[in-house]
């Protein structure tokens, strides 16, 4: 079973991500900010990280930067799932090491399609 880490400070959003992905067999672990996400990622190897950008304590771009310094996450797919839609932010995301950019609100079927495409 593929393991996904969903990082978002909004509990309702995490609920919806987990609901959409668990129903098709993915194992989803939730974290409420970048600090918790990074700690969980160090404890356990995930196949995909889905992260929000604007979060307290540590934002998504910082989390991606930190994850990319870990050898075990050098090539792990990381997708941003955020309300941020500016080209400037997308460029920063790409530079930090994100593999894709999804704008909220997400359509569950399209999210699934992307996840399947990225990790199978």
């Amino acid at each position: 079973m593929k393991k996904i880490l969903a990082v978002d400070d909004s509990r309702s959003l995490r609920n919806m991500v987990a609901f959409s992905l668990r129903s098709t067999g993915y194992q989803v672990t939730e974290a409420e900010d970048g600090v918790e996400g990074l700690a969980l990622a160090k404890q356990e190897q995930f196949d995909l990280v889905l992260t929000d950008q604007n979060m307290p304590n540590m934002d998504g771009l910082t989390l991606i930067g930190q994850l990319r310094t870990l050898p075990s996450y050098a090539k792990t797919p990381i997708l941003m799932l955020t309300t941020e839609s500016s080209d400037e932010m997308k460029s920063k995301g790409r530079a930090a090491g994100a593999n894709g950019w999804l704008i909220k609100p997400f359509d569950p079927q399209r999210l699934l399609d992307v996840v399947k495409k990225v990790i199978g």
């Binding site: 704008i103 909220k104 997400f106 495409k117």
Partner: protein, 165 residues
């Protein structure tokens, strides 16, 4: 002197109004949190019932109704995300209110100093006072024009764009 007293009075009134509005926003956010939690619980419960119904052998007429329900559930997953977007927008409004309150506090404090420390106000004092207000306004504007402040563009609750790098 009268103009400074007027400024002090106005600052106090506006601050009081902003403070009440901030409390209203906090109450809205709290209500939103409670409501969305309940909605999600009901939503998950309905979905569980639906899955159980699907596992039973449905009558022929019920199959299309179940399919219709499943499509509706997919749409609800998108619709429920309004909570996250609404919260972000309300947080930004709170941030702007806070900046304005800080600015008004500074104006009120300066005005009080000027009205109590000297009986005669001169042109230099007024110029310095106006410069101080200009700086405060500029600071407030720069805080509210944070690069992320304009990036929530979602108006309809349809699925957002997806881009793989």
């Amino acid at each position: 002197m009268d103009s400074i007293r007027l400024m002090t009075l106005l600052s106090g009134r506006i601050q009081s109004s902003l403070s009440k509005s901030t409390k209203d926003i906090q109450q809205v956010m709290s209500l939103l949190d409670q409501t969305i939690d309940q909605l999600i619980q009901h939503f998950l419960s309905i979905n569980m019932d639906l899955q159980q119904l699907k596992n039973q052998v449905p009558e022929q007429g019920a199959t299309s109704a179940l399919s219709h329900c499943e499509n509706a559930i997919q749409s609800i997953v998108t619709d429920l995300q309004f909570h996250d977007i609404a919260n972000q927008l309300l947080n930004r409004v709170q941030g702007r209110f806070s900046s304005l309150q800080n600015m008004l506090s500074a104006i009120a404090a300066d005005s009080a100093l000027m009205t109590t420390s000297t009986d005669q106000i001169n042109f230099t004092d007024l110029t310095a006072y106006l410069e101080c207000i200009e700086r405060l306004i500029a600071d407030t504007q720069s805080q509210s024009q944070n690069p992320v402040a304009e990036t929530i563009r979602q108006t309809p609750m349809s699925g957002g764009e997806i881009e793989l790098f």
